[in-house]
């Protein structure tokens, strides 16, 4: 019994820069998430239903160039909204809640890592995973359709691809801040996952009920909001009576305050027991 009498050995080495250490967290989140079978299943299934069919159909059928209509038709598919929502729920659910449950937040924060860098590391990790479903496939769609086009107007296709990049970035970040916030409110990842999904789902239902009276109520629904953004990005006209300020405000509310609340939660929980 007992320990082998091993001497304590010092470590001699070069430390990495303080400012770059959040990348360790990002890398860890990414690798960890790719080991989750549920998440991979959702991403694969979602990709087949949302992206693979349009890629095949649009690039195999004869076309002059990549058009705005092709992209909008693909992006404004309700299935995309549902799969992004499920993916975001699975990705974000345990990112903060797990560290609160096990009190491991203190192990991060006693090190030379500022709370905002901790949050940045986690958010970036989440975005990286989300982009597997929301960034890479739409760009792939754009490139595949452009590569198979029969017409000479590559500039037009390139412009659509550029707009697609914007739309893809927005889709990737859209649900993550709220997901992080709900994850920081609980110590149970299932509560967080269900909470994230239900939050956006409820908003959608509420938007549906009230939009009979005024079209601007639609903006409460995150799916509608995203679709209007796609219209804006691809230069389509918005429906009459829809407030652009409303779009801006709702988007701001979904993105900024949740991150601030998450940051505040990290500060107040970071002390540990």
């Amino acid at each position: 019994m007992g320990l082998d009498p091993i001497r304590y050995k010092p470590w001699i080495g070069q430390r990495t820069e303080h400012a770059k250490r959040f990348l360790v967290i990002t890398d860890h989140v990414f690798r960890h998430k790719l080991r989750s079978k549920w998440l991979l299943g959702i991403i694969v299934l979602g990709s087949i239903l949302v992206w693979v069919f349009p890629i095949l159909i649009f690039s195999l059928s004869p076309h002059d160039s990549l058009t705005t209509e092709m992209m909008l038709e693909t992006l404004q598919n309700d299935l995309l909204f549902i799969f992004v929502l499920i993916a975001a729920s699975l990705v974000c659910a345990d990112l903060i809640s797990e560290d609160l449950r096990g009190n491991s937040l203190v192990l991060y924060l006693y090190r030379a890592l500022r709370p905002e860098r901790y949050l940045l590391g986690k958010v970036l990790g989440a975005l990286l995973v989300m982009s597997l479903f929301t960034f890479i496939p739409p760009i792939a769609l754009g490139i595949a359709v452009t590569a198979t086009q029969t017409g000479p107007d590559y500039a037009a296709s390139a412009e659509v691809i550029a707009r697609t990049v914007l739309a893809a970035v927005l889709t990737t970040i859209f649900f993550v801040p709220m997901g992080m916030m709900l994850s920081s409110f609980t110590t149970k990842r299932t509560y967080a996952a269900v909470g994230i999904f239900m939050f956006f789902f409820t908003m959608t239902i509420v938007a549906g009920i009230f939009s009979e009276s005024d079209i601007n109520w639609q903006l409460l629904g995150p799916g509608n909001l995203l679709n209007y953004w796609y219209d804006v990005i691809f230069g389509e006209t918005l429906p009459k009576g829809l407030s652009s300020a409303g779009i801006a405000i709702m988007t701001f509310l979904l993105l900024v305050p949740p991150l601030m609340v998450t940051y505040w939660r990290i500060l107040s929980k970071g002390v540990g027991k």
């Binding site: 007992g2 304590y8 430390r15 090190r111 030379a112």
Partner: protein, 321 residues
Amino acid sequence: MNDALMTGGQGDVDKGAEGNVTAKDVVMRYGNIMALDHLSMEIPTGIVGLLGPNGAGKSTFIKAVLGLVEPQGGTITVGGLDSRQNVLTIRDKVGYMPEHDCLVEVMTGVELVSYFGMISGMSKNDSIPRSHEVLDFVGIGEERYRPISSYSTGMKQRVKLAQAIVHDPNLLFLDEPTNGMDPLGREEMLDLIERIAAGHKSILVSSHILQDMERVCEHVIIINNGRAVAQGSLKNLLGAQEGRMKLVARGVPEDLAPFVKYLEREQRVISTSEEHGQVTVVLILRGPSGDIFAAAKNAGVQVRSLTADLSTLEEVFIRSV
């Protein structure tokens, strides 16, 4: 409060070493609870015990030094650097083993240790071999490849220690490191602490298990109600009362009784115990020890030994708090 204890041992404080911590008038309130009440102390190099009853403010003090809580007043310096202005520099040199569970249960031991090594600034190529090295050191074997959720309390304590030393800090805070460990595990933990200290580290160990502290600490700080009530080297604290002696005498009961009466009258007796015709008396001498031998001779009692008696840490502790 005991003035002799407060000043005891200040002379051997090793100033200027990298791990030294100084606290001046630190005030930390939680609402209207005064967790640290103008706490001042100086932590020298070596193994330092932070002793105090539950709620004394031990964990709060450690968190204040680490910058995890922000004290409302006072200053704390670590290795001469201000703990608020140089947070990041200090923290690269600090390891912390929290009191409560803090491990990521879904990770394996080796994943966790190397991960936190990287967050402390080690490259992946450094961190992985180093985490195996420290896990070997703390005595985690093949279990390191299993998720931490399957570990026993003792194993978790070891992994908690491993994550605290993976980046080779100069200053180590161990908050109740033997918590929940069996006697053998406790021994091993103390042994590990001693071996880490052999590499010129400052280690602050908080505990209320006095035997543990007595075994490993060179220096002790006793705090109560958020104040340092006694600090000094263990040797000084234990020997703090001059002239404290232990007397063992033998004789028939009829002779022993008047002798004990004499001692109680002429000396300051702290405790007396008697069994099988032998008394053991702890006392503080008031005059030359020759008087005692003379009195014993008169009473027909045989003095078997009269030796200096060191108080136990427990007594110092009870006297101080």
